[in-house]
Amino acid sequence: MPRVLLIEDDQAVRDGLRLALTYQGHTVDAVETGEEGLARLAGDPADVVVLDLMLPGMDGFEVCRRIRASGDLPIIMLTARNDDIDVVAGLEAGADDYVVKPAQARVLEARIRAVLRRTGGEPRGQGAKPGPERHGDLTIDREGLVVSKHGTVIGLAPTELRLLLELSASPGRVLSRQQLLESVWDQGYLGDSRLVDACVQRLRSKIEDDAAKPVYVQTLRGFGYRFGPL
């Protein structure tokens, strides 16, 4: 069962989530502050981090950035407010998904399972050809789940990788944000399209030569995103 690191400052919420996730069969490590959480990760890596944005001391955004900088661990934010600015800032800091408090355990659990599914398995696209694919300077190995540019491996977070695989599976075809939410985030039709936008921005900053003039992941205003044509 996946190991969850829960970083939440309020004791009742921490206890509630720990109880509920443990009840579902997860191994839960619950800490109070961002600093503690980062220290815990250094010693004993978890499979997924559930992170409250409003923390005393180091705030959730900073914790998020540091986890992202050091690895590709999936992060789910807990936002006490559904304030758009918080959500967007959290997604820009590298979170893969978010859950608004108060949340039922089964909602959080579903998000955890969805984000963990992205680390493996084939994307639901048209039949992928075996072996690495070349797209311009990019090489995408769908089986080994490795993306490299000019021969250098690019470190992508699971959601970013999943998004790239989904888009590159059908080059030249436009995918709407809602389609991407369903296929990459496992969200129903009514997901938050800002998840897609934020993830596209992060992906571009890693694979494009110039993120302001994207070549690989292109925006079609009003329709969605398209891989290529190169």
Partner: protein, 469 residues
Amino acid sequence: MTGWQFRGLRTRLLVAFALLSVFTAVAVAGIGYVRARDGILQRTQDNAAVEMTNQLKQLYPLPRRPVDANALQVAADRLNGRKNSALVTSGGHSAGDMPASVITPELRGAVQSGRVAWQRVDVGGVTQLALGSPLLISTGDRRNPTVPSGIEVYELRNLDAEIEAVNGLARNAWLAGGAALVVALILAVLAASSVLRPVGELQRAARRLGAGDLDARITVRGSDELASVAETFNSTADSLQRHVGELRRMEADARRFVADVSHELRTPLAAMTAVTDMLDAEAKRLPDAAGEAVRLVSQETHNLARLVNDLIEVTRFDSGTASLAVDDVDVAEAVRATLRARGFAVETDLPDGIRARVDPRRLDVIVANLVGNALRHGGEPVTVRLRGDQAGITLSVEDSGSGLDEEVLPHVFARFYKADTARSRSEGSGLGLAIAWENARLHHGELTAGNRPGGGAVFTLWLPREVRQ
């Protein structure tokens, strides 16, 4: 005077000044003219009478009576001059150039009674002076010093010069009156402006104040009544600004309080909500009453959480922090997704291919609230219809219940409004329709409620194809 009313202060002032100046000019010039004219004419007449009596002396000694025509002619020739013509009559005879027709009976009567008399007469359209005098004979008797000789002398004098002088006077009077009128009008315009400029400023400032610009003030000039009106306006605006500021502060405080309370409630609710799934699972294993109690706690925790979420949503609308995350969506697909996610069974008329740029999550909230409301308070079957045109999309939710009462209609989107006061707390926070309405407004669209002709309520949502942000 149709259509020309004394509406404006400017018009009234101009008219008043004009009337006053015309009246004054007419009075002054008129009286002056009349007196000058009378004076001129009086002097002329007096002079003419004096001249005539002097001339008459030349006729003495009088010819013996009965006077013959010849003697009369001689007398007339003596009296005829450049500026006048004469007529000498005695008995039935007369001689001279003056036409007898101009001598009026009154003049003749006055002369025959023994007086020197004159009268202005009209001769061929020109005013001339006719004078008449009897020739008298001295008797030397004290009691009756003179007796009429029977000879009457008439003269007709030309008044051209005097008439010219009088006309000159009249012209001057008209000129003076006209100049006075022009000056009066200029003064009136100036006076009107000096009054109307501050009045106009006051009006503009009052309009700004009414439109909600509480900083509107006017500059106070001088110390007249208008200045004191300006001061009054400014102090009124000051106190209005103070009061409104206070009200706004109070309202902001109240809203902040609601927002703070909602946020404070969130944390304990988050802890409780986290464990409700566990409670629901464990309740099955508990004995009847305990299980029921646990289920109750779980259910009410969800209701409370929904209420708090809705409250927070409302506070975000109020504080203006609610924003749109628009995306291009196929509206029919989005509505179907909402119905699917909520498990709503309704009849649909949702043509594909109607696309709009809306916030899908907010559209979901609107549709879920409208359909949920129709199923709960209306009556099945519920029909959801979608139509689109160039400008926007129209989504209607119709139920088959008894419709909405007339007194309910205006309040149906009010917060916590319960159409039926006796109705117990239903599922839903009492904020659903209010939030739906706010969401429509955020899209620059609108949400309206009404009744179908055949009974049943209908809620109609209109959203623009593209939100202008």
